[in-house]
């Protein structure tokens, strides 16, 4: 594995203690190893893009961070919350972790029976115990931020895919997460609609949001993220400063993947 300029060595990240730490995180389904001893440290404000071939474990890694898939080995530390594989986390630990982690899914997963405004408000009421009025006010601000204040009273089915994904981002932001996970947020969108989602993500990154983005958008990975991680077969095969990794990969596996992507 090449570790040219990871968070531990890059001077830009060195002074800050990590916000998120993964230590030897593994995940197996039966005898199938999906994640094999992943170590990762993420500094506050850092934007990391994870790229790699399908089935390399990228999405599973994200899902292990917020325990949608409990890891089978290793340890996840976020802020003061530590979750060890093999120990079922307590309800409070899990709630703390999930409140601190916003997640955006490939298929948006908005609640189809609720209006756009309600989609953004409901978790604030249920999880943060905000009043309806307060939650709605914050939701309107967030919808305005993603450019969709005029859709507040519509149902998600009336919105385009790009709009739905921006609503999903607003919904995740409403819980004031410390870190945002994006699981291929533009893969289900045609390129034009993907751009509007990427613009929102770029704005978030510029405003200091800590983000992990699993993506096939190579341009985004290179231009917006601080660090790129290339995964294959459940392992990190290379990581480093985005431009270096994307333009001059050191490992054979990373080179092969990037060639395949660029030749398309």
């Amino acid at each position: 594995m090449s570790q040219r300029a990871s968070s531990s060595t890059d001077p830009r990240f060195a002074p800050l203690p990590p916000l998120l730490t993964l230590e030897a995180v593994g995940k197996t389904f039966g005898s199938h190893v999906v994640l094999d001893g992943i170590d990762l440290r993420l500094a506050p404000g850092e934007v990391v893009a994870i790229i790699g071939p399908s089935g390399s474990g990228k999405s599973t890694l994200l899902r292990c961070i917020n325990q949608l898939e409990p890891p089978t080995s290793g340890r996840v530390t976020l802020g003061g919350t530590v979750i060890e594989a093999g120990h079922t986390p307590g309800r409070r630990e899990l709630m703390n972790l999930r409140r601190a982690v916003g997640m955006v899914f490939q298929s948006f997963n908005l609640f189809p029976h609720l209006t756009v405004l309600r989609n953004v408000s409901i978790a604030q009421e249920r999880v943060m115990k905000r009043s309806r009025a307060e939650a709605d006010k914050i939701s309107m601000q967030l919808l305005a931020r993603v450019g969709l204040a005029d859709k507040a009273q519509q149902y998600p089915s009336r919105c385009s895919g790009g709009q739905q994904q921006r609503i999903a981002i607003a919904r995740a932001l409403a819980l004031e997460p410390q870190i945002m996970l994006f699981d291929e947020p533009t893969s289900a969108l045609d390129p034009e609609l993907g751009l509007e989602v990427l613009a929102v993500m770029r704005e978030l990154a510029e405003n200091g949001m800590t983000m992990i983005v699993v993506t096939h958008e190579m341009h985004f990975a290179e231009e917006v993220s601080d660090r790129v991680i290339i995964m294959a077969d459940g392992k990190i095969v290379e990581q480093g400063v985005s431009r270096d990794v994307m333009r001059n990969p050191q490992t054979e596996r990373a080179r092969r993947f990037l060639h395949a992507v660029k030749d398309r």
Binding site: N66, L68, L94, M95, R98, R99, V101, G102, M103, F105, S107, F108, N109, L110, F111, P112, H113, I122, A123, R126, V127, Y155, S157, R171, A172, L175
Partner: protein, 214 residues
């Protein structure tokens, strides 16, 4: 048919409606925990729920009503015909509703659970705010169809003496020696009673579908 016969038959309508409503209420509510057990990953609970559902559905309703009214009713707990009918049909409805809910559950995208988990919802809020409203929408047409079937099945309760429409029809026809018009009128009453259920279900379905059409 005389006015007297008409009113006697019509006097069965509140009993038919009442028995349908109470049985449906028992079934709709009891179906939820039964469905939860049926979907449980704990094998013993799952198997127990399967056994209960199979038993309730495999035995004919009339046998259940006889068992409850003449069996339990005469030796264990005293039950009026209406109570016995409501308990029997209610339990059978619960088994069927559990299966209807289970079918509807498979229609809900797994991403809905995941989003609710990722947002940190408690088990109760996941169910009440996210899953149940969608489950209701998906299950509604099938459940309404079942409710119409249940309305007709309440006629079985005439055999244990619930004074509903079929009971009154049988009573009037035996007294008057007239079968054709009496039973035709009873049939007409059942049609008139089932129409509002069908209309209400159709209206609710269209209304909900328009709001959340994908």
């Amino acid at each position: 048919m005389t006015a007297d016969m008409f009113w006697t038959l019509a006097s069965g309508v509140p009993w038919t409606i009442g028995l349908t409503a109470v049985s449906l209420l028992i079934g709709v509510l009891l179906g939820i925990p039964l469905c939860a057990l049926r979907m449980s990953r704990i094998l013993a609970l799952n198997l127990a729920a399967q056994a209960v559902i199979l038993t309730l559905r495999a035995i004919p309703p009339i046998v259940w009503l006889f068992f409850i009214f003449f069996g339990l009713g005469s030796s264990v707990i005293e039950l009026s015909p209406f109570q016995a009918g409501a308990v029997g049909l209610g339990l059978i409805t619960a088994a069927n509703m559990a299966e209807i809910y289970r079918g509807a559950m498979t229609a809900i995208h797994p991403g809905q659970w995941e989003a609710a988990h990722a947002l940190g919802f408690t088990t109760w809020h996941r169910f009440a705010d996210v899953i149940a409203p969608q489950l209701f929408r998906v299950a509604l047409p099938t459940a309404a169809g079942y409710a119409i079937g249940l309305l007709k099945d309440t006629a079985i309760a005439s055999t244990i003496g619930v004074a509903e429409v079929a009971f009154q029809a049988s009573h009037v026809s035996q007294r008057s020696f007239r079968g054709l018009d009496v039973y035709a009128f009873a049939g007409l009453l059942y049609i008139l009673l089932s129409l509002p259920i069908a209309w209400a279900a159709r209206w609710a379905d269209l209304h909900l579908r328009a709001r959340v059409a994908r």
